[in-house]
């Protein structure tokens, strides 16, 4: 079944290593340690997709122009297509697959569903990761803050993205009360 959801917690993950190794060669991905071998110049995007099969992070342009591959590196929104794997060693990467926690979906994920943002859906993982950085930095973002998200959406979902980010901020505020 290509695309019927399975629960995130059941998503198979590659074996993570014990972690007693040299931290400088380790990259944390969604909370698990990895020791990427192979070509250290391989962009994180292709390491995530082709090697780890974490395919939620999407390829869109290969030059950091569209944001479809946005992931968080130490909490900062970065373009995985222009970030070599070697540059992530010693750092913590969060992909769309790692955004939800045991407590449930991230407020952005909930808001995205509630506002029915996605059309084709291809850019949305990147949009959400970019918004995740924004919300972490600016818990109550205004229109101007949201307008700074540079990710492309070819389907034109921007107005619903705006609404979803505001709704997520509200969900997060209510959740933290």
């Amino acid at each position: 079944m290509p695309d019927t959801p399975t629960r995130a917690s059941k998503t198979p993950l590659p074996p993570a290593s014990a972690g007693a190794e040299n931290k400088a060669e380790e990259v944390q991905i969604n909370g698990r340690p990895y020791y990427p071998g192979g070509d250290p110049d391989m962009p994180l995007l292709w390491y995530l997709r082709d090697v780890l099969r974490l395919t939620g992070t999407k390829f869109g342009c290969g030059i950091g122009a569209c944001g479809a591959c946005t992931v968080l590196i130490d909490g900062k929104a970065q373009r995985a297509c222009v970030t070599p794997v070697k540059a992530t060693m010693g750092h913590a990467v969060t992909t769309i697959e790692g955004l939800a926690t045991d407590a449930g979906l991230h407020p952005l994920q909930r808001a995205w569903i509630e506002e029915d943002v996605a059309q084709c859906g291809y850019c949305q993982a990147g949009q959400i990761m970019a918004a995740a950085e924004l919300l972490a930095r600016t818990p109550n973002p205004g229109d101007d803050d949201i307008a700074k998200i540079p990710n492309l959406c070819r389907c034109g979902t921007y107005p619903r993205i705006r609404r979803a980010i505001k709704r997520a901020a509200q969900i997060a505020r209510e959740g933290s009360k």
Binding site: G37, Q124, C155
Partner: protein
């Protein structure tokens, strides 16, 4: 393993090759499809419905989901007639359903392509019946169980109910119902007053899968032991390969093979690959890309080496000036004579650039070919075309080609072509291994089936009461109808895809001529969302505005006067029941009311409006804008739409919002240009789609309530957006933009 530390093992695995890692359990492409939908499966009620013992309902989605929402809206049609609660429904994507019958090739699921905004109209015809048949089977099963006449039973929300209020849930009846024969004749459908799902705002069924990264697109599928392929394609239109030096490419670690692919011969139909090229196969996408960068290829330039968009533009103007060699499109009354006698003339020309589709997910394909069967997983709009191409290139009968459909990262008409499937097929055949073909964004912008380039010359004649009595629309363009076997064999006229004989204001102006001037070009051309209509509506709806301004008439009233009393008119090339002038007037008036057309604006704000009919749907756009310095500010964006009965209001709203933004993003920013026979654009840096900062805060979508037959909403949101914006810019600035992309032209003119 004992001698290796855990870490060393991981290193070893990753270093050896990506292919080794495939054996970890992520090769979803190799898992069997859980949904077969066949009668041979327990609890299957026809090809689309399966009911679990616990009453959960699984509905098969047959369409290609390219963002237009059919994976949600089509199953809604089935669920409605099945009479189940939507919350009990789980939707599964169906594969391509090619079957061979006594009467020849057929599709067990009906039409599965995505084109012509046709999914809803065709699903309205057959998918409701599929749901009703499944319900009928359940009722028959209950009737047998209770020994009651079926006519005495009714259904409600997933249960059959007897006159004495006994109930049997569908889950309890499914096995018995599945064993019954299908009815010979169509069974009755609900009347609209009985609808409980159709017309209810319904969120996309893949919402959670998308926001958690689990939704699968074509590019997300991996076959075990797949090779990763990228291609270097000839940058010259109809060019070829003189010499390939792959020695450096083959030295790149991970590169496994290099394969030359022949393109179509100049002038011959393009129904396989699009261009000649060299494929690099490797054990990861990255290695393939590095290998490609090391290829040294000498190309031959082909017959179009000197082609440029500036020359095409000059040629278009020349053809229109000389007015020779025209292909007639439509001729009513006598425009030439009318114009001679008319006291008022208005004329203008509008230039439309080539456009690329730029789907967010670039083209690509995953294919596994064995001796006598093949499996394709790709983001598609035309699975039947893909099946045909694979069969043509491999000799494998179509019945032995399995095509699994996924979500597509956008379509916009790009995936109506299957050139990328042809490439993957040829590469996999040569390599003897499954292949995952990736297109980069550069590949995508350089090698597309572009929307045609052209110039529209408009001319109107008005009598002394300022009534439009003559209308001429002459279009000089690179014909959409180009090396397309389907169109050539169907002997479709050369103008198809550039200008519509019956489009507004045909039939509304007594003396009307439409002519077409083909311009030779080596640019491959194809369908681009809304196809013909995004190409000519800008000219028609800008020009109407120019007439209104030149003759000091209200731009809304002028259109309403032309449309006249509500009536239905003939419209060729449409399965829909013609063009209803009243419905177009209705959306125009609605958009005008919502934007406050009659209210005075100050502070340099301007209003613009436009309307259009296509694929059975009616839309109007109105914008309020101002221009500060050279910056365009869109204060309000209003879209009114009439697509008949609405299946999913949330989906229609999304399509109109997205269509509006697609229309203005493209009009403001985008053009593909040619110089020395090569496409100049490379990536989103020089093909700059609209970003959040440039988008209006919201698009106010107003949907007309209607009991007319439903039409599709995927394309009607686009055509009138750009002219409404240009008209608003004129109102704000008195600068008339007649050439796209609009922002560059506006900057030049201000």
């Amino acid at each position: 393993m004992s001698g290796l530390s855990r870490r060393a093992f991981l290193f070893a695995t990753a270093t050896a090759s990506g292919a080794l890692l495939v054996s970890w359990k992520f090769a979803r492409a190799d898992q069997p499809l859980p949904y077969r939908g066949a009668r041979d499966e327990a609890q299957a009620l026809g090809d689309f419905v399966r009911i679990e013992a616990n009453g959960d309902v699984v509905i098969g989605a047959r369409g290609c989901e390219i963002g237009q929402g059919v994976k949600t809206s089509l199953p809604m049609l089935i669920a409605e007639e099945l009479d189940v609660g939507w919350e009990r429904v789980r939707v599964e994507q169906l594969p391509y359903g090619y079957v061979e019958t006594d009467k020849g090739p057929s599709n067990r699921y009906g039409g599965q392509g995505a084109g012509g905004s046709d999914n809803i109209p065709s699903g309205w015809k057959d998918l409701r019946q599929a749901g009703a048949v499944a319900r009928w089977l359940l009722v028959q099963a209950a009737a047998a169980r209770w020994d009651l006449p079926a006519a005495q039973l009714r259904t409600q929300s997933g249960a059959v109910i007897a006159p004495d209020a006994r109930r049997l849930g569908y889950g309890e009846l499914a096995a018995e119902a599945a064993a019954l024969d299908l009815p010979k004749d169509p069974v009755p459908l609900k009347t609209p007053d009985q609808f409980s799902i159709i017309g209810k705002p319904t969120r996309t069924v893949d919402g959670e899968a998308i926001v958690t990264g689990r939704a699968q697109f074509g590019i997300d599928a991996y076959f075990t032991n797949t090779l990763f392929a990228v291609m270097l394609r000839c940058p010259h239109l109809d060019g070829g390969i003189e010499k390939v030096d792959d020695s450096e490419a083959r030295k790149v670690p991970g590169v496994k093979d290099v394969i030359v692919i022949e393109g179509p011969k100049a002038g011959e139909p393009i129904d396989g690959v699009l261009a000649s090229g060299v494929a690099v196969l490797a054990d990861s996408t990255w290695a393939a890309l590095k290998g490609r960068a090391k290829l040294k290829v000498e190309w031959t330039e082909g017959p179009w080496a000197g082609e440029s968009t500036s020359a095409l533009a000059a040629k278009a103007q020349e053809l229109l000036d000389k007015n020779e060699g025209a292909v007639p499109v439509r001729n009513d009354g006598d425009f030439v004579k009318t114009r001679k006698q008319a006291p008022i003339h208005v004329e203008a020309r509008y230039e439309m650039p080539f456009l690329a589709h730029a789907t967010m997910e670039p083209p690509g394909a995953q294919i596994s070919i064995e001796k006598d069967k093949a499996v394709l997983i790709a983001s598609l709009q035309s699975p039947s075309g893909a099946s045909q191409i694979i069969s043509n290139l491999t000799g494998i009968p179509r019945k032995d080609i399995e095509i699994r459909l996924t979500r597509s990262g956008g379509g916009f008409g790009r995936r109506l072509k299957n050139d990328f499937v042809a490439e993957a097929t040829l590469i996999a055949k040569a390599a003897g291994k499954p292949v995952k073909l990736i297109w980069t964004r550069e590949d995508d912008l350089q090698h597309d089936f572009f929307r045609p380039f052209g110039v529209h010359a408009m001319s109107a004649a008005l009598d002394k009461k300022k009534k439009i009595v003559g209308w001429s629309h002459r279009c000089a363009a690179t014909p959409r109808n180009y090396r397309d076997r389907g169109m050539t064999e169907g002997k479709r006229p050369l103008y198809v895809g550039c200008i519509e004989p019956d489009d507004f204001p045909a039939g509304l102006v007594a003396n009307l001529e439409k002519t077409f001037f083909p311009i030779a070009s080596g640019m491959p051309r194809g369908w681009w969302r809304g196809p013909i209509h995004t190409f000519h509506a800008f000219a028609v709806q800008s020009f109407i505005d120019e007439i209104a301004i030149a003759t000091k008439q209200d731009a809304v009233q002028l259109r309403l006067d032309l449309l006249g009393p509500p009536r239905r008119m003939k419209y060729e090339d449409s399965d829909q029941p013609g063009f209803d002038t009243g419905r177009l007037a209705g959306v125009l008036q609605l958009a005008a009311d919502k934007i406050g057309w009659k209210d005075k604006r100050s502070d340099g704000h301007g209003l613009g409006i436009a309307c259009h009919f296509t694929f059975g749907g009616y839309a109007a756009h109105a914008f309020e804008v101002s221009v500060e310095g050279s910056e365009l500010l869109i204060h309000r964006a209003v879209c009114a739409v009439d697509v008949g009965r609405v299946v999913n209001p949330l989906g229609v709203e999304a399509q109109m919002m997205g269509g509006t933004l697609d229309g203005i993003s493209t009009a403001m920013n985008l053009a593909i240009t040619l110089k020395d026979g090569q496409v100049q654009q490379r990536n989103f840096t020089d093909y700059p789609l609209m970003r959040m900062a440039q988008s209006p805060q919201s698009v106010e979508v107003h949907i007309v309530e209607s009991t007319e037959e439903p039409s599709g909403a995927g394309e009607i949101g686009v055509p009138s957006a750009a002219p409404a914006l240009a008209n608003a810019i004129y109102a704000a600035t008195t600068v008339r933009v007649r050439k796209l992309p609009l922002l560059a032209e506006l900057k030049r003119m201000l």
